[in-house]
Each structure stands twice: as C-alpha cells, then as structure tokens.
Amino acid sequence: MAAISWIVTLLLLVAIVVLGISLWRLRADNARLSSAHSQTETELKQLQSSQAQVIHTTKLASLGQMVAGVAHELNTPLGFVKSNVEVVGDLLDDYRKLVKAYDAAVQYCQQPVDLMFGADKSSLDKLVKHVEESRRKLFDARNAVEKSPLLTEAKELLGDARDGIVQLSALVQNLKGFARVDRDGIDAMDVNEGVESALMIAAHQLRDRIKVVRKLEAVPKVRGMPSQLNQVFLNLITNAAQAMEDEGTLTVATRAGNNQVEIVFSDTGCGIPDDVLPKIFDPFFTTKAPGEGTGLGLSIVHKIVKSHGGSIKVRTTPNRGSEFTVVLPVESSARPTLH
C-alpha cells in the first residue's frame, strides 16, 4: 500500500516536472513568436513607409514633369504678351511725337493772320510765301500722321497680346481642370476634357517629335475622381511618348460603348515584348534603368481604373506599337469603391 502511494507520488512528481517543462517551453515559444511577430511588423512598417516614399517620389516626379511642361507652354505666350505691351507703349510715344509735329504745323499756319494786320507791299509778298510754306508743312505733318504705321502696328501687337492672354487663361483653366484642386472628390466627368488637359500637360514631351491625332467623340460622362483619372491619362500619354524613341504618332480616341466609355491611346512605338507584357501592371516592375523609373506608373494606372469599376486592356506588337484601352462605366451605372 505504501509502495503504491509512493509510486503515485513519484508519478505525480514526474507529471508536475513534465508539465513545468512544457509550460516553460510554451512560454519560450511564445516569447520567440512574439519577438518574431514584432520583427515582421517592423519590417512591414519599413516596407510600407518605403513604398509610400516611392509613391510620393513618383508623384513628385510627375509634378516636376507637369511644372516643366506647363512652364514651357506658359512662357511662350508670356514672352510676346509682355514684350508687345511694352513696345506698344513705345509706339504710342512715337505717335505722340507725330501729333506734336502736326500741332506745330497748325500753329505755323495761324501766324499769317497776325502778319496781315499792318501789312505793306513787301510784307504781303512774305505773307504769300508764308502761306505756301504753311500749306506744305501742314500737308506733310497731316500726311505723316495719316500714313503712320504706328497705330496699325500697335493694334496688331495688342491683338496678338489679347490672343496670348486668351491662350494663357485657357492654359490656366486647363491646369485647374487637371488638378481639380477646387473640388477633390467624386464627380461626373467628361473624359474628353480630361484627355485634353493631360495632352496639354504632356505637350512639351510631345511637340518636338510626336504627332497627336485626336478622335474624340461626344461621350456620356463617367463618375469618378477627375484628378485621378487625369493622372491615368497623363501616365498613358507619357508612356506612349517614351515608347516612341524618335518620331511617331499618338492617337487618342474616345467612344461610347454599351453603358461604358472607352478611351484608347495608341502609339507607333517599340511595343512590349512577350516576356514583359504579363508584368507591366506589377508594382515596382520597370524596364527603365535604375533611378529612371519607379515602376509604379502603370500599377497606379491599374489601381485607379479598377477603383473606378473599370478595366484596362493592352494590345501590342513589338516594333509596331501598343494600344492601351481604358474602359470606364458611364455615370449612372458606376458603383465606385474609392478610397
């Protein structure tokens, strides 16, 4: 009996030791797990912050591009408007001189009236001469005023300046339309306007070498964030421009489909090789040299289009060109899940 109780005690002791050991192990495991967990969390945070940084850099890069493009578009009209306004001032000064000369001639013509009082024979002869002289002077001065090109020129320059100001305000309007800083939110949007403003922003990348063909049809409005969709258009236009190394044609078409709107960007550039094509929408995938592209352009495009309930299709032939088609649902049918 004593033996049995001794054995039971021993078993109990063993069980307690085993339990203690496994408990201790469990705790160690737990500690390891939680340290691993916090490490993963830190890594994730680091990744997220570096991703945010890259996205921020991408945004800054496209902002820089935009500023550069717009600066160029603005500076040309600014150049002649500013110059013309100043030159017109000079022209008016010159014209004022002509008018003064005319006034002087008129003064001279009035002098014979004074001479007539108390005139004798010899002074009458002088008087006739004076009258002839004053007629000539008046005629010349009048002619100079009438035939002066100064006012016509000034008018032309002011006409150009007015055109330039119209051009400048259209650019600024476009820019506001592109950025939509005044109403950042979901809105009914005419994609043709978006395409136009994106083309304007990209103009400096295109105008030297790339012909732009617009086939924009009247299409129903889509529902979405204009600033984001404009970013999509700008990215696709920029990509097309970069795909065409020398000269080329970029065709932008919009058309209405079955409850949807299609926006097509086709270039005559280098095309996309078969092994690259499946990866083009992957984040951080790029074929550019390190430091030249973040590989986020098309992935952002993809993300924005999807969040608008749309889709994007690519057709490409190496060395012939690529065609990107963005399909967006029209305003009434869209159920955007924007974040």
């Binding site: 150049g79 110059s83 013309n84 022209l91 320059l157 150009d160 030297d208």
Partner: protein, 325 residues
Amino acid sequence: MLGQGFEMPVENKPSGPLRVLFVDDEARILRALKALFRDVEVHATTDPRQAPGLAAMHDVDVVVCDQRMPEMLGVDVLREIKANHPRAMRILLTGYSDLKAVLGSVNEGEVYRFVNKPWVNSDLRGLVIEAGAISREAPIVASDELTGIEQNVARTQVGVLVIEDDTTVQQRLREILQPHYQVRFANTAERALQVLEQHETGVVISETATNHGTDLTLMLKALKQYHPHIATVVITERANAQTVIELINEGQVYRMLIKPVRMGSCRLSVDSALGRYWKLKQNPQAVRRYGVTATPETLSAQTRMPNSLLSRIRALPARLLGIGR
C-alpha cells in the same frame, strides 16, 4: 598680321544697320521681336530648316533662335549656322530648357548667350546690339584644330589645370591627360590660383563644386571675366540646367562633360580647348566673341569670395597668360 586660321570679315565688311535673324515656330513671337527691333534689319522665319540658308544669304550679324520647334531643335539650327555662317553670334531663346538641350548648346552650338522666355525687352535689345557689334568687329577663330607642329609647341608651353578634390576622378584624369599635357592638380580654389600665378595655363578643367560643397562656379566666372582667353572645361555630376545656363552666360564655359569621365570625349575636349587658347593667344582681338558680363548678383557674390581670391584673379600677370607681349 593675323595668324593662320583667322578670318577677318574684311571683304564686304558689313555696314549699315544691324542684321538679325529670328527663328521661332510661334509667329507671334516673331512679330513681337520685329516690333521690338524695328530700328534694325530683321529677318525672320517660323521654319528652322530655312534658318541656316537665310543667315548666310543675308549675312546676318546675330541669330536668335527658339529651342523647341517641331521640325528641328534650336541647338541643331545653331550648330549648322556655326558651320556655314560662323560670323553670326548665336543666342538661344527658350521657354523651358532641359539639361540635354543646354549641354548641346554649349558643346555643339557654342552659343554666346542663353535667354529665357519671357525676356526683358531692354536686356534683350542690349544683348543683341552688343553681340552685333562684336560680330562685326571681332575676327573669327575658324577652327580650334592645331597643326601637328603647333600642337607640340602648345603642349610644351601651355599647362592644363585640373580643379578637383575627388581622388578617384583625379586619378582617372591623370591617366587620361598626363601622357599628353602638362597637367597640374589643385584641390582648392586657393591652390588653383597658385598654379595660375606660377604657370602659363590655357585650359582649366573643373567641377562646379568641391566635395566639401565649396562653389567653384564663382571663381570660374571671375576667371572668364578677367581672362576670357582661358578655355574652361567643366566636368560635373551634379549638373542642373540653371547652373549650366549661368556658366554659359557668365562663364562662357567651352565644354561641359558629365561624370563619369570618358577617355575619348575628355581628350577631344581638352585638345580643342587647348587649340582655342592657342588661337586666341595669337589673335587676342577674337577674344571678344567669348567675353562675359557678370550679373550684379554674381558681382556681389564675388566680393565675398575668401582670401581675396578675386583681386588675385584680377592681378594674374598677363605674361603668364601669354598675352600682352
């Protein structure tokens, strides 16, 4: 007596009003410029491809050309004009300039000035009239290429100064240049001046700033201001379009290379820079074509240069610079 390779515009010496060619694809820019220059003989075209022909046909003194045009870039227009009508002074007028365009305008177009749109009327007028006078009065250096004999003499007589504090780049330049030229190295502006004071120096190769961030462009500008016949080759990795534009306008930099330094382009640049110095040494009158006018900002910044560097630059003996003999 002029040395070889110089052309003085003596035959049909240009006279009468200044002749200027304006090239811009925007017709309204051309009308504005015509109105601004209504007292000079103005030729203008919206088609850059016609510009080189027009420049030669009307024997113009100055060409003012836009950079971005659909048919042709301004830099290419100016390079052609440099070849077929070298007498004309070349000015680039542009709304926005990327680095590539600016570098091209130095290395290929050898432009006299780079002007941004929108321009200031009185400045542009002053500039064009000044350039026109230079074009009529100063002879042209027809080519910077030296004959074999000239080259040997020049290389033994004239030194090349490298201002660079990065030892790897120094080493690289030593490898490229040491076998051919008398190369001297300086880590600082101070040391560079010592070299300039002691040796005849025809070519200065320099970074835009030292590794420690000291700006070297002020010194390069001052050097050009007082000794315009020294040819500067700028080698940089931190090129930014605005810095280069300033180096053109106020430093008349002869060539601009981007790091890493490549043997071929480096040798070519230093060779022709030395050629340019040698030709100018023989005909100091041609130097006016490469002169600079410092902006008030630069002038006031220069007075703050350390160790009275400015007065030492000003006082560099003409004997060592190879002129005034």
